[in-house]
Symmetry: D2
Subunit: 339 residues, 4 copies
């Protein structure tokens, strides 16, 4: 095991910039050795900003370099699976933003490559590393809530992503709800055996034009007969909204909306406070900690806490949701199980 | 119109006792003239407690008395429809706890009697009169949230009712969720055109024995394509839980869990507060105000804000939910529309 | 002891109206037998409103009536002491709004009359009966906070009372802070041995014109060396503000600002809620419960939980505060002790 | 002006470690060039941890190095003034933890050296850089609260510092309350003209042994006749407590206690959440931002937002409070003004 992990970052976009800052400055036992972006100037600019000595426009520079221990994939979705396959073949440890691929076959081929190579693949489900969610998981696993009976998970973006993003996003379930699918599987410690999805395109006409939806409710039944519900919107009207409630026989947990600052303003109209506007603020701590866990795991030789099989399972739920919505009938995720 | 409404209360149980106190003391322009309970001693005891001069064990004493303007029905569910029919024929104004009947035909016959007699029938959906819910409705109707896109409505009882109650309750949807069905219809200002219900019996074995459920998620599509979700449990593990969230294009409302007292206790283990344990505490103000509105409406000759058609519509949703759960398929409430 | 307490209310103003409604409707074992106001039409109007059969403009009608068990004094401050003396001589049980008198000698004479007559005198410090404050007192007395070390008590009115009221109010300390003085004595279970008062007239010029103040901070040392601080304002800029914090070796209690409704509104500008605007709303439950305790105490023959000696002690603190402010030096309340 | 600031850190203790991490990793335009601690191994260990190439046990190594632009002083209090004087003579820009010195003469000599040298001196009052406090200051300055009339500022440590620390701390007012003195001066935008301090030693016997106090209330009058109150304790019984309220003619701001995680736990005993336990957690963001502002100011050539005169003024208030407490009389801070 290395004493210090030398990582290459691929993708210098929004989330790539976040990971670059983390790797360059906030993880003592990591070194950001190379930044790659197929758009060279983006790679160069980010490298300058975080004082990384090397940048490239060719991902193979990362895969081929013997001095690189780990690849952090934050490039566009369609590049994830090929990069995972390439990194696995090169024997690199892999961190990849969700999803592996929008396509289940491509996902399975990437997973097979990872398994064959015996490398680690940690997926960027950052919510699992948020202090509140991590504490909730711990309490649930300790039995503090007794038998778990139901979960409510909500996520709303402040406003829709640009149309160009939406066109290749894979749709609401594979792009957005996939975070909730991972979250409910993880917190419940159980698999969904059936779900029913109801969706609407009412936020903006472009969703209907793209044969996509912007508002959704998915109900789920788990193997142990507990129930769940996920509701989403592409536009909240008030900021970023991520909240989760778990109900058990002995009590409940409510992971709530975080105010941006602990300040109330009181005037003749009432009591007012601000709120968090963007996921990068809400999950700032989680984005750092997921990479710390990735780096520590490489050094310790331990498996990642959220891996490619988790990503595969969440994607199967997204497929099931899309099928349920289109067929207007409950669907078993088993229909989309790995062959 | 009378200057003061002389009311007879039928039913001296839990909710009847609440209404008796309200009618006897808290509504200046009402007079509690008679208390009826088929179990005479219960009527007598309640009459003594609220200083009502007359009591009886025969509901006909209320229907036949020319001096009685209004009947408040708080007796067992199976007596609601016959009493409504009798009160309507006697020309009395009627306040009735939900439901009119567990059976849709009986419901329709009672509604027909009310229509023929031209009397008022106000239903006891008390949540509509809670200050927070009433304010939410006002804001929604004023357009403060813009276009309404989604609603989340949750209700959990602190613990299951006794088995004797459950046996004649009509099941979760007709007994408990019916409050949520009324709430979402009312706040959304729209009718559900389709719903899907998923239920489980995991809280206690007696629910399975009764072919009933104790945990449920119902997703709903409204006529304007907005979506809703209702989740229920017969046992919360922490007290009484009634919360509702409405999401619109310009913002959201969250009607939250009410602490019983505005006090925090801080110690080495964290921050602690109490919570409300029972619906009679949570809706104390609403139980008074619904009867004030009923009495004021009689004096003013105005129709009740929540009537038998509302109760009929909520019951149709309950039937649709039960059908959906049993058929494991989405169901249109139109299947249960009034002939 | 009577089975039912027949009470006469003296004073049909704002707080008198509140007490009339309570006595007439909300206390089963009380009867509002007579309403007195020196302005007869006010008495008559209130009597009609709460359906009380008798009214009068002469307080002696209350004191002389053999059928009256108790007198509830809610008239103007200058009438309190004479009415207490008269009621005590007549052997009536007495409930009196604070203060007994603005003058300490008159206060002491009234207390002496009460003691001679052996009647009960309960003072209207309603905060003691608020559910949150009562729970706090219970927790403190049970030792839940360990050794009590400090208290912070704040009260702000939404806006100054009319000038006519202020002119005879006795000034900030005797009129407003007296509620805080009672609160800190009671919660700390200890007597202040020294205090220092700092005041300003900055809210409105009329306070300076009246040689009064509108903003104040009073620091207090208790016998056991714990400390306290009370801050007040005649105008909050945002509604009614009553909050108290108690700090002990093992934790703290924070009795907080009560939202009027448990509803949040979220929009692009943040999170918003309403707040309580007036003390009659904040302490609605306490105003009922203090009279219930008064009535129950008469029937049970038990002494009132807050009596004339408490009012005397709070008034001595008000005198000490006024002296401290004018002398700009710490003052011992012992200077104003009962002879 | 330099494009990048080369800083030497002096002091490798608790707060020095925080600043080292910030300078080494979180400020792109700063470079941590040298770590000094008179205990060499501490300097070496910290240098290794943050990957700083140079360390020393001799502060002169920092003052003498031409390549060093700025000195960050986080060593023991008694070294602050000599280091400020030395750094000023060497023409270095200076960041110094509070206080400059416990002694006013030494403080004034250090300030004179800074003025003569024309260098910047930014003081480590981190609260000013906390997002909530900074937003409050902005709202106050924009006039959102109207005329400011009162401030309440509270600070409690979770538990007393070790006796060795307390012995050289300078006492409660110069060590702890000095943060509050800076805060109220800054938020009020006004100077205190008089204060009265009341203190007790009740938390632990060692405070009395040290002729110190552990619990305090200080009331203040500002030049414009607005009022303030500061309360402190060396031990809260529940965690770290920093809260501030500002009241104006048009409303109020309440900067509140920050939960550590946005999660509620509900069970049969009530609603529970965690809280922040330590100032390094509460002010984590502020500790980073104060150094960013320091570095940016050096590059831009702008004066620091909180300087030696602010530290001097806060220390004068601490002297006045100590005098007031010992003389048991109100004291004007003018008594301790710079000659």
């Amino acid at each position: 095991m290395p004493e210090r992990v030398r990582a290459a970052l691929i993708g210098a976009g929004r989330i790539g910039q976040r990971h670059a800052a983390t790797l360059a400055r906030e993880i003592p036992n990591a070194e950001l050795a190379l930044i790659v972006d197929v758009h060279g100037p983006s790679a160069a600019a980010l490298a300058a900003k975080v004082r990384c000595d090397r940048w490239s426009s060719d991902p193979d520079d990362a895969l081929d370099a013997a001095s690189i221990d780990a690849i952090v994939i934050a490039s566009s979705t369609d590049s994830h699976a090929p990069l995972i396959v390439g990194a696995a073949k090169a024997g690199k440890q892999i961190f990849c933003e969700k999803p592996i691929a929008l396509d289940l076959d491509a996902t399975d081929r990437a997973l097979a490559a990872v398994e064959r190579a015996g490398v680690s693949l940690q997926m960027g489900f950052q919510r699992r590393f948020d202090k509140a969610y991590a504490k909730a998981k711990q309490l649930i696993d300790e039995g503090a809530l007794g038998r778990i009976e139901a979960i409510r998970d909500t996520m709303r973006d402040p406003s829709p992503a640009p149309r160009a993003y939406l066109e290749t996003s894979g749709g609401l379930y594979r792009d957005m709800t996939i975070h909730n699918f991972d979250c409910v599987r993880w917190l419940m410690g159980d698999e969904a055996t059936e779900l029913f999805a109801m969706g609407s395109a009412i936020v903006s006409p472009e969703f209907a034009e793209l044969d996509d939806i912007d508002t959704s409710v998915v109900s789920l039944r788990f193997a142990n007969d507990s129930l769940g519900v996920i509701d989403n919107s592409r536009r909240s009207g008030f900021g970023y909204d991520v909240r989760t409630e778990v109900f058990g026989s002995d009590g409940a947990l409510m992971i709530g909306y975080a105010r941006d600052t602990p300040m109330l303003r009181l005037d003749a109209n009432g009591i007012h406070s601000d709120h968090i506007h963007w996921f990068l603020e809400r999950f700032d701590q989680a984005y750092v900690d997921e990479l710390k866990v990735f780096v520590d795991g490489i050094i310790a030789g331990t498996p990642p806490p959220v891996d490619g099989n988790d990503a595969r399972a969440a994607m199967a739920l997204a497929y099931a949701a899309e099928a349920s919505r289109r067929e207007n009938a409950p669907v078993s995720p088993a229909r989309f199980a790995r062959a």
